[in-house]
Structures are given as structure tokens and as C-alpha cells.
């Protein structure tokens, strides 16, 4: 239905563009004078009048249709049934009517529910048809109105320009408002979680067993929401990833900027950047199916007990993914060091290695640190690799051969299989999400600051 509507709207708007353009041309020809604006602007003006009001109407219609239809259905049910029902009970009745209307019947419903469901379907059907008719009527009305406004002196270019300006401002507002909305809903649900579980327990508790805490009254007793092991697990895996990515990324950045010939660089640099383009799900099964078994075998050979989903396997593969972040940002930082510093060092008789270690790296350090911080934020937010390759059980350990779990893994597992989002278990996902959000945000803020300051120093 909506698809049809949109296709119709696009067609009418295109027709509006065509008619507007043609009328403008005709006016100019008949009055034997020049138009104020090019015919295309007249066309675009008409098309805007067709498209924009109708789109706004569709949006509002969809927003309110449901509430209106529900109200009508409820008021059509005999009063003696709905009388004395609480608001909650009525909501339940509505959802029962809706599922019957959609054909999902589990137990034989009451006759009045069946009747209401049929009524609901009829109303919805009518509402959809009405929307199509009303919206198209508005579109055609807009076409007529805008087309009548056209004249040779009509300032269509200015009108189109103003509309486009407005649309661009709208774009930015949408971008910012959606984000604020996301943050607000995270915050709101996290607060609901902290109403049920004390903040202190969440941040300092050492036992994370959310699967046990099914009933609200169990929570306080069992103390299942201590997130410390989850945080330490995340940090452990991120630390392993950085231990892989920092040396390799930094070394290759130095090699590519200071040593490599043009041909070598032109081949290797795109290859490094591709490492960031490999889908994370591919890295995920690379970790599970290749790296983890290999580590296990290697461990067995030297007598070490390696867990099948060890932190080391997940962290190492995550490190590979992160190499390009570090190498490209370090590359920028090293390239930005002024040539004079290099030349000065050589003039003092330092070798290339000495120049790099004692002059270039200290000078480029802030830029490199910024890159590393960005990479850390990437590592703690990464989901797919750890969902596939890390453990599910929170364990407080610093042993990289053990299985640990991460914040992202817990967010995903807490939400699986639930459709109601009001018990502590699912609400905990929001608390974790909020912590993750704040942590990555802080890392990014600090990193961008550091990089910014560094850039200013040499510019």
C-alpha cells in the first residue's frame, strides 16, 4: 500500500515538474518576454508543492491512524463488556483483537473479540484506502495551486533555493535529533535498570549471572548483576588486540613512510587498508575455525590448557582488524613531522634508525597516541568477532588462555529470545550499552583532542 502510494506521489511530482516547466515556457512565448527564472526552477517549484505537503500528511496519518482505529473498535464493543475495565485490561484486549485480526488464533476467542477483529480489519482497510485518496488529492491540489502561481515574473529560483536551504537544515537537524533520541532512550532504559539493581552492585559486583535472575525479587538476593568481570573481559581482549595491532601497525607505518620505495608502498598500502574492509563476520569465523584450534593445538604441544574460545584467539584476530586504523593514523602523524627536523638529525651524524627513534617518533607521538585511542574505542565496541569467538560466561581472570566475555557479547545474549523489555535481564543490556557508549565517546573525544592539538603544532 505504502509502496503504491510513494510510486503515485513520485509520478504526480514528476508530472508537476513537467507541467510547471511547460507552463513557464508557454507564458514566456505568449507574452514574448523572458522569464525571471529558468523553466526548470518553475518545474521544481511545482514538484515541491506536490511532494512536501503530501509527505508530511502521510507521516502524520501513519502516526495517528492506529490510535484512531483502536478507539473506534473499542467504542464499538458493547458497553457492558468494556465497562469497568482498567486501562491495562483494555490494552490487553486490543492486542488480542489485533492478533485475531492478523489471523493468529491460539485459543477460541470470545464472539465479541471476533466481531471486533473483523471490524478492525474493515476499518484498517478503509483507512488505508482513504489515506491513498486524501494524500493523492492533496498532491493534485498542491500541483494546481503551485501551477496557478507561476508567471513570467515569478521568482521560482529564490523559492527553490529557500526550500533547498530549509531541507538541508532539516537534514542536519534529523541527524542530530536521531542521535539525541538514541542516547535518551539508552539513558531512560538504563535508569529503569538502576531502579531495580543498585548502581554500586552493577559497577563493583564481582558476579555476573543475569540468566539466573528471572524474577525481580531474586535480583537483590543473588547479586547477579555485578559487571566487573564483563568489563575486565572486554579490557583483556582489547589489550590483546592492541598488543598485536600497535607494533605491527606502527612498524608498518614507519616502514612505509621512511623506507619503502614508491612501488612497494603503492602495493602494500591499499592491502593494509583492505584489512579494515573485510566484513567482521569473516574475521569471526577465521578466529573460531582457524586461530582458536591452532592455539589449542599449540597449547597442548607445550602442555598448556587453552580454552576453545580463548581470549587470545578473539583478541589476536581483532588486532589484525585494527592494524589499518593504527597504521594510517601513525602514517599521517609521521608524515606531518617537518622535514627540517629530519635533516637536522642527519646533519648531526645520526643513522636513520636513530633519527626515527629519537626524533621522528617523539615528535609524532601525540598523533600516534590519538590513533591508538581511536583504535581502542574500535576494539571495545567490536561485536561480531567476540560474539563468535569469545565466551559467554563472565569470568574474572587475567589469563589470556581462558575464555572471557565482553560487554558487546553480553548485550547481544541478554536480548536474545526476549520480546518484553522490562525485566532486569533485558534492561541490563541498556546499562551495558550506556557504559559502552560513554566509554567509546570519551575515548573518541580525548583522541580527537590530542590529534587536533598535534595538527595545530605543525601547521
Amino acid at each position: 500500500m505504502l509502496t503504491t502510494l510513494f510510486i503515485c506521489l513520485v509520478a504526480v511530482a514528476a508530472a508537476g515538474y513537467f507541467f510547471g516547466q511547460r507552463k513557464a515556457r508557454g507564458l514566456a512565448a505568449s507574452q514574448n518576454t523572458r522569464l525571471h527564472s529558468l523553466p526548470g526552477y518553475h518545474g521544481a517549484y511545482v514538484a515541491f508543492w506536490v511532494g512536501l505537503p503530501s509527505l508530511v500528511l502521510v507521516l502524520f496519518w501513519l502516526l495517528f491512524q492506529d490510535a484512531v482505529v483502536e478507539g473506534l473498535v473499542i467504542s464499538a464493543i458493547p458497553a457492558e463488556i468494556t465497562q469497568g475495565m482498567s486501562g491495562n485490561r483494555i490494552d490487553l484486549l486490543i492486542s488480542e483483537i489485533k492478533s485475531v485480526a492478523a489471523g493468529r488464533i491460539f485459543v477460541e476467542p470470545q464472539p465479541y473479540v471476533l466481531e471486533a477483529a473483523a471490524h478492525y480489519n474493515i476499518l484498517n482497510n478503509t483507512a488505508e484506502k482513504a489515506m491513498l485518496v486524501v494524500v493523492l488529492a492533496l498532491a493534485i491540489l498542491g500541483l494546481g495551486y503551485a501551477r496557478r502561481n507561476l508567471s513570467v515574473d515569478f521568482r521560482a529560483r529564490q523559492k527553490v533555493g529557500l526550500t533547498m536551504d530549509g531541507l538541508m537544515i532539516l537534514c542536519s537537524v534529523i541527524a542530530i535529533v536521531t542521535t539525541l533520541g538514541i542516547i535518551a532512550s539508552l539513558l531512560f532504559e538504563a535508569i529503569r535498570f538502576f531502579e531495580k539493581v543498585p548502581v554500586g552492585e552493577f559497577f563493583f559486583g564481582l558476579s555476573w549471572e543475569p540468566q539466573i535472575a528471572i524474577r525481580a525479587d531474586q535480583v537483590a538476593g543473588t547479586g547477579a548483576f555485578g559487571a566487573v568481570p564483563v568489563f575486565t573481559g572486554t579490557l583483556l581482549i582489547a589489550a590483546i588486540a592492541m598488543a598485536v595491532a600497535i607494533p605491527i601497525g606502527l612498524f608498518s607505518a614507519i616502514y612505509l613512510t621512511e623506507y619503502a620505495g614508491d612501488r612497494f608502498r603503492s602495493v602494500i598500502k591499499p592491502v593494509l587498508e583492505m584489512l579494515a574492509g573485510v566484513p567482521t563476520v569473516v574475521y569471526g569465523f577465521f578466529a573460531v575455525l582457524t586461530v582458536a584450534p591452532a592455539l589449542r593445538q599449540a597449547g597442548a604441544a607445550v602442555g598448556l590448557d587453552v580454552a576453545p574460545n580463548s581470549a587470545l584467539a578473539a583478541g589476536a584476530v581483532m588486532g589484525i582488524m585494527i592494524i589499518p586504523f593504527i597504521s594510517s593514523l601513525s602514517d599521517d602523524a609521521i608524515t606531518a613531522v617537518p622535514r627540517a627536523m629530519r635533516d637536522g638529525s642527519y646533519a648531526m651524524g645520526a643513522t636513520k634508525a636513530e633519527t626515527i627513534m629519537r626524533v621522528l617518533l617523539p615528535a609524532a607521538l601525540p598523533g600516534i597516541v590519538g590513533g591508538i585511542l581511536l583504535a581502542v574505542s574500535r576494539a571495545i565496541g567490536e561485536t561480531m568477532i567476540v560474539v563468535m569467538a569469545a565466551g559467554l560466561i563472565a569470568k574474572l581472570t587475567a589469563n589470556p588462555l581462558d575464555a572471557v566475555t565482553t560487554v558487546t557479547v553480553q548485550i547481544v545474549t541478554l536480548l536474545i529470545g526476549d520480546t518484553e523489555f522490562d525485566n532486569p535481564k533485558t534492561l541490563a543490556a541498556f546499562a551495558l550499552g550506556l557504559v559502552l557508549f560513554i566509554a567509546t565517546l570519551l575515548l573518541n573525544i580525548v583522541a580527537l583532542r590530542v590529534v587536533q592539538k598535534y595538527r595545530e603544532r605543525y601547521e
Binding site: 505504502l2 509502496t3 492506529d66 489485533k98 529564490q158 533555493g161 533547498m164 536551504d165 531541507l167 538541508m168 537534514c171 542536519s172 541527524a175 542530530i176 542521535t179 538514541i182 539508552l186 612498524f251 608498518s252 616502514y255 623506507y259 602494500i268 591499499p270 592491502v271 593494509l272 583492505m274 584489512l275 574492509g277 573485510v278 566484513p279 567482521t280 563476520v281 569473516v282 569465523f285 577465521f286 573460531v288 589484525i320 592494524i323 643513522t351 636513520k352 634508525a353 626515527i356 627513534m357 581511536l374 571495545i380 565496541g381 561485536t383 561480531m384 560474539v387 558487546t408 547481544v412 536480548l415 550499552g433 559502552l436 557508549f437 567509546t440 565517546l441 575515548l443 573525544i445 580527537l448
Partner: protein
């Protein structure tokens, strides 16, 4: 150790690290290709296209529903995010007052760093119920996945467009204004064409990110392996399919999953390469 030997050792270790990084990519590609190969040998590439459905247990491996699912979701995200991101970049560079400009730029940079699972969480708990209430139950659909992905790739799109617009010499805009062009006309006829390549880079990278994203999509797309017929149908993407089934897949099923992983990887790597190309040409004066 003499200074010269130290120098050589230093150079050698740097070179090894660089080659190790490059080898990692070769190794990952080889591993996926090696596991995918039996699927091609057993069924031939055609079977993935022609098999009517995805029922690995009974030996039909039609990837078409997932290929279309991935494309539908990513294209919808791109269609929504490209104009929004470009509009936001234009606003930032040409409309916003200076105070707002820096703030806006910073905000978008920070948005780019939010982990995708946070977006997925929001999509699952806020967006899906909204769609279910106002459009069609159960709400997990192409539309939901497309919207979540659009919000996710919006910062990428905005940052690249903004960088491309910022790189255009200020004289061009001034000259256009001096000729009497209104702001919007100047943008449309002078600045947008000049920034075209940079914007293309952003488009390619956004598309690659949308195609490769797994978790956020898996949480909101419904994951039914069927050919979708409307935006409100649930859909399963290639990446979600791998994530959902890899844990228990064996034999031909597993090789088929690797083949689909290989497919996604090939397409995203192609997009990343195209983006790099387009960026390089941009840099040349």
C-alpha cells in the same frame, strides 16, 4: 652491536611487520577461499543462483533471498543516508554559523565512533515496536534494518562529503557568488560537481560498511530466508545468515556459508578499492 648493524636490524624488523600485516590479509582471503572452493566444485556457482530456496538440510542452497536481502537493506540505507549526509555536510560548510560549525563537525565525528551494537539495541527496542505499531507487525523488516544502517552510515557519509567540500578552494564559491548565483545554485552547479569524487568515496565506503555490517542488522531484520516482496517483510542478509548458521553447519552447508562469506568479502573489498581509487584521483591537482 655496531650502529650500522642496529640500523639494519631495525629496518629488517620494520619490513617484517609490514609484510606480516599484508600476509594477514592474504591468509584470511586464502582461508575463506579454500573453505568455499568445495561448494563451487560440488554444486557449481549456478546452483547458488538457481536453487529455489535456502534449505541446507535438504540440499538446496539458493542464496538469492539473502543476496537480495543484503542488497535491499544496504541500498535502502544508502538512499536514506546519502541525501541526509550530504545535506548535513552542505549545512555544516555553507549555512551553519561559525560557532555551530565546529560543534556540528565534532558531533558527527563522535557519532562515527559509536559501536554498531548500540544502534542495533536501539533499533530492536525502539524502532521495531514503532514499526509494528504504526505500519505492520512484527516490525522486524527491511525498513527497520535499512533505517538502523542509515543512521549508522550517516556520519561516514557526512564526514567524507564535508571533507570533499572543505577541500574546494574558497575562491570558487566566492567567484560563483560574484557572478550573482544564489547559494543553492552555486552549490548545485559549482561546488557539488567539484566535490563529486570525494562524495563518491564516501558513498562507496558507506555502502561497504552497510553490506558488511552483521550484528545491528541481525537484531532488527527478522532473519527469514525468503524473497522479500515489500519493505515491511522480514529479510535475512548474507552476513546474518553466516552468523546464524555457522555454529552448527557441517559439510556442504558449511562450504556454502563460506562461499557466501567470500562473496561479501569480494564485494566489500572491491568497494573499498574503488573508494581508494576515487580518493587518489581527487588528491591529484
Amino acid at each position: 652491536m655496531s650502529r650500522r648493524a642496529a640500523d639494519r636490524l631495525f629496518r629488517f624488523s620494520l619490513r617484517s611487520a609490514t609484510l606480516a600485516a599484508a600476509l594477514a590479509l592474504v591468509f584470511v582471503t586464502f582461508f575463506v577461499g579454500y573453505e568455499a572452493l568445495p561448494a563451487l566444485q560440488a554444486a557449481g556457482a549456478g546452483a547458488f543462483l538457481t536453487d529455489p530456496s535456502w534449505h541446507p538440510a535438504s540440499g538446496t542452497f539458493g542464496l538469492m533471498p539473502m543476496v537480495l536481502g543484503s542488497l535491499a537493506v544496504s541500498l535502502l540505507a544508502l538512499v536514506l543516508a546519502a541525501p541526509l549526509g550530504l545535506g548535513a555536510a552542505l549545512f555544516e560548510n555553507f549555512y551553519a554559523p561559525p560557532v555551530l560549525r565546529g560543534l556540528f563537525q565534532r558531533a558527527v565525528e563522535l557519532l562515527a565512533g559509536i559501536p554498531s551494537v548500540v544502534y542495533g539495541l536501539w533499533g530492536l527496542v525502539v524502532l521495531v515496536p514503532l514499526i509494528a505499531k504504526h505500519l505492520a507487525a512484527p516490525g522486524t523488516s527491511i525498513l527497520a534494518a535499512g533505517l538502523v544502517l542509515a543512521i549508522m552510515i550517516l556520519p561516514t557519509m557526512a564526514l567524507f562529503s564535508s571533507a570533499a567540500l572543505g577541500a574546494i578552494p574558497a575562491e570558487q564559491y566566492r567567484a560563483a557568488s560574484a557572478l550573482g548565483l544564489s547559494k543553492w545554485t552555486a552549490l548545485r552547479t559549482v561546488l557539488l560537481p567539484a566535490a563529486g569524487r570525494g562524495i563518491m568515496t564516501g558513498l562507496f565506503l558507506s555502502f561497504a560498511r552497510a553490506l558488511g555490517e552483521t550484528m545491528a542488522v541481525l537484531m532488527v531484520a527478522g532473519n527469514v530466508p525468503q524473497l522479500p516482496s515489500s519493505l515491511l517483510d522480514p529479510v535475512r542478509t548474507l552476513t546474518a545468515n553466516i552468523a546464524l548458521e555457522m555454529a552448527y553447519a557441517t559439510g556442504a552447508h558449511r562450504h556454502a556459508l563460506f562461499f557466501s562469506g567470500f562473496l561479501v568479502m569480494a564485494v566489500t573489498l572491491l568497494l573499498v578499492t574503488l573508494a581508494g581509487r576515487s580518493e587518489k584521483k581527487e588528491a591529484r591537482p
